[in-house]
Subunit: 349 residues, 2 copies
DNA sequence: TAGGGCCTGGACAACGTTGTCAGATGCGGG
DNA sequence: CCCGCATCTGACAACGTTGTCCAGGCCCTA
């Protein structure tokens, strides 16, 4: 028997491309609407015989429950939103995947959105997600004012900020120990005899960049080294800018003998520049990179565990939804110094 | 005036944490429901004075439209789904981001889901997305039978398969030229004097792995080389398996003098193994890697453009939704051989 | 001043589902 | 033989929005 083409003559008016609804299933099975609902949701109170009839109708019609309607009725979407900077950045892939896994364990799906480091876009995205009534929101802030989320949080949207703290509101945060990590990394260079150490980082308005710079300054101060302005360069992470910054530091009468790179985007360019130099310059980088151990020399890094951060954040999100969590907290995830060679080079002069 | 706490005594019954609805806004502004709807959607036919009153009420109550209800009414969710293998894989991050950008240009959001290369999970995910009535679906297949999507496609869900073709249904596909790319890569090794060339790839049931193997065989045949079984190893991409495979090929009386790596996960392990060997073995790898140019020697790769693939797929998706597209097509995106040194090493014996 | 057209605003139904509640059915015991 | 109870089933309202349609008021013209 050829399947009946439901895509009728053009009348119908049923959107969703003429999809069958529970009503259609009910009619076909000769039962009430609610009975279909019960079967679909595996609720008790349906005779096997009835269930069989309903199931048959479902299969015959190719029915699939419309979760939009369900959501409207139930009030929970089983969806969480993740606003990050750029999914193409290798730091965020694993983070997103970790959030997804936790969500999956709670039966929820994940909507990803990239803010491209633009505060307006972050807000637009976060609010669009709220309009869809996501149950929770994980935000990697681009902006520094998140009061726009206050009504949403009050209305019950679980919210966790990651990688950078929330601005001007009190909320859960999961952060790396940026300050401590950078300090440790720079101290490592100092311990190997360096005094003129450069710092190349992201834009200073970004919290992580500022914290890592602070860590750099602290380590230098610990060592009793007066930092010169020419040793520090903060700005966009595009290769051109980073390249110029690195080249400037490496030339002149008193070039730096070591560089601390504040971010994985910066690192890849710095490595390229250093590879071109005749003099060997030491390097410690914030964030691990794939293959970093295979370069000559291996790149010493301050590693963050993106997956652990994502997992922690998502856990907290769902605990907020459970009601297990009361007060917002700031959680710091430790970093780990991984020595591979580039950080152990002695000063070249 | 302190804002009225709508989180009332526990009665109310309003889910969504007591959110105000258009009805509340209408009551407060002293207008009809539809007028609020008009204001919210920027529809014409509202006097500036009325609009002001409504806007005031919206702000005062912190109203935000419930898109779940909107979706139910309108039949379009402005959401697309992307089922991929693993967002943590550096190949998929850029791909996902590209899909997201195109979706964003069409006012849509993106739900990502990882199948972890498990066909059942792929199906579960894809169908869950359909239940949410995504407008379209981009699928990177894990399984090889996609008939389960037939009713959905018939019901109007735009669908594009990426990276691997759809199984047993006729649908749009966007693929890399896996066969041609691998053939070119292996031919490159042959051209540099190699005859005993190994192939290490992903599980053979995966289309890309099979195609790349086919490309390998073709190139070998072109060169009149009889391939020995010991030169080929297909299987999981976990480091242990790959390491054993590589080490086997590289030992014995007639070890391979060059390796073709069929996938980026495989490549990182192969590079590690080769780096440990005393003998220099040539390498060409399918898929580019960050920093591949900085290794010693630089890794010669057959590069795929993940972003272009994602963009192409998403474009087609929205053209399906426009109705611009009629017949399913299979689009092949060319690969590009990038020579960096590892592929140009001569045979070591 | 009456009539007609235009503009604004609002009542109402509908989208597809689930929760509530009451009705129907069957069975066993008094 | 009838009643009561347990089990199964279905009618109906509600979720929050948007599309349809009509009412009323205004202005302009004859």
């Amino acid at each position: 028997m050829p399947e009946t083409p439901r895509r009728a003559v053009g009348i119908s008016g049923n959107r969703y491309g003429n999809r069958p609804t529970m009503k259609d299933v009910a009619a076909r099975a000769g039962v009430g609407l609610k009975t279909v609902s019960r079967v679909v949701n595996g609720e008790p109170g349906v005779t096997p015989e009835t269930e069989r009839r309903v199931q048959e109708a479902i299969d015959a019609l190719g029915f699939r429950r419309n979760d939009s309607a369900r959501v409207l009725r139930k009030g929970r979407t089983a969806t969480v939103g993740l606003v990050l900077e750029d999914l193409a950045d290798p730091f965020y892939g694993p983070l997103s995947r970790a959030v997804e896994e936790v969500a999956r364990a709670h039966g929820a799906l994940l909507i990803n959105g990239s803010s491209a480091e633009d505060p307006d876009r972050e807000q637009e995205l976060a609010l669009a997600l709220c309009a869809r009534r996501v149950d929770g929101l994980v935000v990697i802030p681009a902006g520094d004012d998140h009061r726009y989320l206050e009504p949403e949080i009050k209305a019950g949207v679980a919210t966790v900020f990651v990688d950078r703290p929330a601005g001007r509101i009190d909320a859960d945060c999961v952060l790396s120990d940026n300050f401590g990590g950078a300090r440790e990394g720079v101290a490592h260079l100092v311990a190997h005899g360096h005094r003129r150490i450069g710092f190349i980082g992201d834009m200073p308005r970004i919290h992580t960049a500022a914290e890592r710079l602070r860590g750099y300054r602290a380590a230098m101060e610990d060592a009793g080294i007066a930092v010169e302005d020419a040793w520090m360069s903060l700005g966009a992470t595009d290769p051109g800018r980073v390249r110029r910054a690195a080249e400037e530091m490496l030339t002149g009468p008193a070039p730096v003998t070591a560089v601390f790179s504040g971010n994985n985007r910066v690192t890849v360019t710095v490595i390229r520049v250093l590879a071109e130099q005749s003099r060997r310059t030491a390097l410690v980088a914030f964030d691990d990179l794939e293959l970093a151990d295979l370069l000559q020399p291996g790149v010493t890094v301050v590693a963050q565990d993106a997956a652990a951060i994502g997992r922690t954040a998502a856990d907290r999100l769902f605990r907020q939804l459970d009601g297990t969590l009361i007060a917002p907290e700031r959680i710091e995830v430790p970093t780990r110094l991984v020595t591979r060679g580039s950080g152990e080079l002695p000063p070249a002069d």
